[in-house]
Amino acid sequence: MAGPSGAPEPALVAPGGAGPRSLLGSPPADLPDPAEAAVWVRDLTRRFSSFEAVRGIRFAVAPGETFGFLGPNGAGKSTTIAMLCTLLRPTSGTALVGGYDVVAARAEVRRRIGLVFQDTTLDDYLTAEENLRFHAELYGLPRRQAAERLDAVLAMVGLADRRRSIVRTFSGGMKRRLEIARGLLHSPRVLFLDEPTVGLDPQTRAHIWEYVDQLRQAEAITMFLTTHYMDEAEHCDRIAIVDQGRIVVMDTPEALKASVGQDRVEIQTADDARAAEALAERFGIQAARGGEGLTFHVAGGESFVPRLFAELPVAIASVRIARPTLDDVFMAYTGRSIRDAEASAGERLGASPWIRARRR
């Protein structure tokens, strides 16, 4: 596995994140025109009495983009979502969703967003259909359109045949699917998904991502999601790695991984000694000989393979390319693994911010 060998590229660090705060007050050269962004956030902070959960983040999400917040529990992901969804007032900073301010124009923001929360917000005593009807009525959808839309979203998440079942009888995965259906019912411009797969088994998680990917393609919907599963962040067009209330780095998953280091390539050949010699000679690569072949690091492993086959004068039996993972990325930018980060964050953040919000 390619370790975080080189120092991170400074160009990738978001100015609102770990960098110096000298940009505060100056025109946001790093942010696009607010009118063109689906989500536009500048220097957003949120403090809970003594604890600062979000410490001045800035980013923008383009319409149609799938944008992910990746970070350990307690990094400020849910607090950020709560502010963007108008459920929590920012301590300072500005956030626009669909072009509207989340504080000054809460109602306008609420009309344009859909939400899938970390924990279920369905009524267990109602049927799937009744939960959706409740939502349709609350959002004032015209009756006929509501009926059509209800059929469509239920079919999409594969719950059409369970529409009259009480939600209490649903599995965790079915409930989450129903929540996604409900979040989409009023055709929001921005869909927020807060840890959409937390607490689900791997198979159901894969299923949920299938729906998300499908949505990405089918509807020109902007998605903002949070996750602390590294592999799931791969489903995003762009991700921001957050830690301790700050954006540490922000880019496409590919670029982030590329920034960390080279791919690791393992090959098995008919003659490892000769192959190693040839690698050094033709490509200037120092390969290590292990028990099962040769291992070496190279940038852009996939595009290197054709050259390898064309130019290596030894028969190749197998090739394996291992990409640096987002785990490596997190480690490279924060200096610790995501698991360590979760352990320390758990102590700081007790109850959910929703309950805190209500106490104010």
């Binding site: 009309r111 929360f117 594969g158 949505l215 020109a220």
Partner: protein
């Protein structure tokens, strides 16, 4: 203000590429924009949800009957022999007749408070968030919740009302209608109070506090279980500031207007609330209850509108 979204651009999927489930067609959907009609729809759907939940929880309906039935038939019968002694013309039924409106009021009180405090459960289980992020006025949500809780409490009390015949109260349509009206008003006031309290409650455990410090004192001081006549001064004073006393009294007066009993029984059991010797008219009592209902409702709406 309403808005129709422009249709979204066509799906960016290459033709022929199939995804497992049926595709969701992008559509322009009209979403609520704060008109009165939309708010009324929100009120109605929140109200309906309360009714559906009530109707689905049959066990709760039955369990809620146990306590009032025990009060009425066990405590009522046990005390009746004691009470009936020494009152000319009193029968063993008389005390149960007396207790009946009190026990019906108790049913309204407990059910209404429980319905209102279910907001705390909604918060705990997340459903409150689903409501709070909706593009409707918070007032509409609170109004729906209060009307729903009040309806549920009234329905539960109507089940108790069905037992009237067993305690010597006639099934007179006018009497029943009067009682239902009074119950509905009381239920609305109590649900509004409960909703106001729930806005300050973060945990389900706080329900016990409300039960011990609000509900039980309201109940015991209301005159539901004993006549308000000839009480020691301290107790008489406390009963006069109990809002529930102004609900129990009109209900009891309605009942005693429809039963045949001796003047002695009527004098002790049938009359109650006085202010400095002045018999408070039913209209004033109901007016006070309505005023409280409005105050609590306003405060509850304010409490929920203020929060994030």
């Amino acid at each position: 203000m309403t808005e129709l979204r422009p249709p979204l651009p066509p799906a960016a999927v290459p033709p022929g590429e199939e995804v497992g489930s049926p595709r969701l067609a992008p559509v322009a959907v009209h979403v609520a924009g704060g008109t009165l009609r939309e708010d009324l729809r929100a009120v109605r759907v929140v109200w309906r949800r309360e009714l559906i939940r009530f109707a689905r929880n049959r066990l709760r309906i039955v369990t809620s009957l146990v306590q009032p039935v025990l009060f009425l038939f066990v405590l009522g019968t046990g005390l009746s022999t004691l009470v009936a002694r020494g009152i000319p013309g009193a029968t063993t039924t008389s005390f149960r007749t007396f207790m009946f409106p009190g026990v019906v009021a108790m049913t309204v009180l407990f059910t209404a408070i429980f319905s209102a405090v279910s907001i705390v459960w909604d918060r705990e289980f997340g459903f409150l968030r689903e409501m709070l992020v909706a593009p409707v006025r918070r007032g509409a949500l609170v109004a729906g919740k209060c009307l729903g809780g009040a309806t549920v409490a009234t329905v539960q009390a109507v089940i108790m009302l069905a037992l009237a015949g067993l305690v010597g109260v006639p099934y007179d349509p006018l009497l029943l209608l009067t009682l239902v009206g009074e119950m509905l008003l009381a239920a609305l006031a109590i649900t509004a109070l409960g909703t106001l309290l729930a806005s300050r409650m973060a945990q389900v455990e706080s329900f016990q506090v409300v039960m011990q410090f609000v509900v039980l004192p309201l109940f015991f001081l209301s005159g539901a279980l004993f006549p308000l006549r000839a009480l020691p001064a301290w107790l008489a004073a406390l009963t006069k500031i109990d809002p529930l006393a102004y609900v129990v009294d009109p209900m009891r007066r309605a009942v005693f207007a429809h039963v045949h009993t001796s003047p002695a029984v009527r004098r002790l059991f049938g009359a109650a609330m006085t202010w400095d010797g002045w018999r408070v008219p039913v209209g004033v009592e109901l007016g006070l209850t309505a005023l409280l209902a409005a105050l609590f409702l306003g405060a509850a709406v304010a409490a929920f509108s203020k929060s994030d």
